[in-house]
Amino acid sequence: MAQTSAETLKTTPLYEQHIAAGGRMVPFGGYSLPVQYASGIMTEHKWTREHAGLFDVSHMGPSFLELSSKTGDADADHAAIAAVIEPLICGDIAGLKPGQIRYTLLLNAQGGTMDDLMVARSPRFPGALYIVVNAGTKDADFAHIAEAAGDRAKLTRADDGALLALQGPEAIDVLSALLPGVVELGFMQYGPFDWNGHTLIVSRSGYTGEDGFEILAPASIATTFWDTLLADERVKPIGLGARDSLRLEAGLPLYGHDLNETISPIEADLGFAVSKRRREAADFPGAARILAERENGPARKRVGLIVEGAPAREGAEILDAAGAVIGVVTSGGFAPSLGRAIALGFVPPAHIAIGTRLQVSIRGRAQAAEVVPTPFVPHRYFRKTTSS
């Protein structure tokens, strides 16, 4: 597999920006992306937790799914487009308010996870959804959605532009200086915003556990918008390395590692993503397995582990206190905010209680580990105070 790299890798509209900023480029999801910039993963990680980090996530799969023939009745059109996507996922899309985003899972017939994704109801266009899927799965996801839609709805990929994430406690002040309207967005809401005559699609969401935004920009203005954000001294560019350590601290699963086609939402501790209405109707792929696991418990479950000493990486065996192999680490590394090693992994239900003493096998030696609650670092999402 030697000579596959450079010419077959795709680049994002921000490639030159990464090079100029000293980005150390690596292949990821078929794209050449920066794993870190000059200051390094630790500094970038902490900067995001304290200020605002800017990420190029253009490798991901933003798209729009729009009803082919609309009635003009907003509620009826939304119900119709929801009925196109819902048979593939376990989330309640029909119940979304305009502009509301839902984290959900694309499931196979066995109740395994084909992808985790965001599905949002357009705030402006009845009968339209904004859908963002993962980079590594996007071609398969888009084919799967388009096939299910048939001639009822049209899927339009939007992954030829730039998708940026601005994350951290100062993200709101930075972005609202350019786009004042974003202060109106609650967590998991999105909308269109005008910037110098161009439309940006801005979501208040992210993958770090911090307040922040994900911004879809046309390729033509990607570099200008990126540079404008970076001109604010509160903003630094952040690579994939810190993106991974931030999401791990936030206890968020990474598809292809903590989620795959054999892992169910219940096993992955994502039961919240199986919406109540869908549960009651049992009308999603793999419902029999997933509902039975919800009722009786799954054979294995994702847990968070604090690991003593060297980090346990993906693939490390998890042992019980007596040394018997009971599971495997699916993501693991060093948590810069905590100054110690953390991991996500799967173990049988007998070992999932918080405080359970386990071990992980690292280079042939058993190291102490303990089951702890996730997130490892508390989420600091923006919550609107409601007056109801």
């Binding site: 870190q36 993963i41 060297a310």
Partner: protein, 121 residues
């Protein structure tokens, strides 16, 4: 006092019959922030090329190989609490272990300053 280098980016600084082993400036930059160092036990006997230590960055673990055969006589325990010394001062405070060199002729097979500079150009 001579310092020799391996193609895997370890250095060995030779002081009499003892070699002081660590990783190069080039290696620490490539690895990024080092968060954990696993050192060998004193008395451990290595053959040239054996896995002798492990450095963990935020992203990944990397093995450190014995540049020559010999017996570990001392390890830099300071790195247990301050692994970042490997980044800050790899050639001095960030040294990893000392080895009693079993066969000084093995040093001849290693790179000198010029050879290592050429490798990392």
């Amino acid at each position: 006092m001579t310092t020799k280098f391996t193609p895997d980016h370890e250095y060995i600084r030779v002081e009499g019959a003892t070699g002081i082993v660590g990783i190069t400036q080039f290696a620490q930059e490539a690895l990024g922030d080092i968060v954990f160092v696993e050192l060998p036990s004193v008395g451990k006997v290595f053959k040239k090329g054996d896995e002798a230590a492990v450095v963990e960055s935020v992203k990944a673990a990397s093995e450190i190989y014995a540049p020559v055969s010999g017996t570990v006589t001392e390890v830099n325990d300071t790195l247990t609490g301050e692994p970042g010394l490997v980044n800050q001062d790899p050639a001095a405070a960030g040294w990893m272990f000392k080895i009693a060199i079993a066969d000084a002729s093995e040093l001849d097979g290693l790179l000198d300053d010029a050879g290592y500079a050429e490798l990392t150009k």
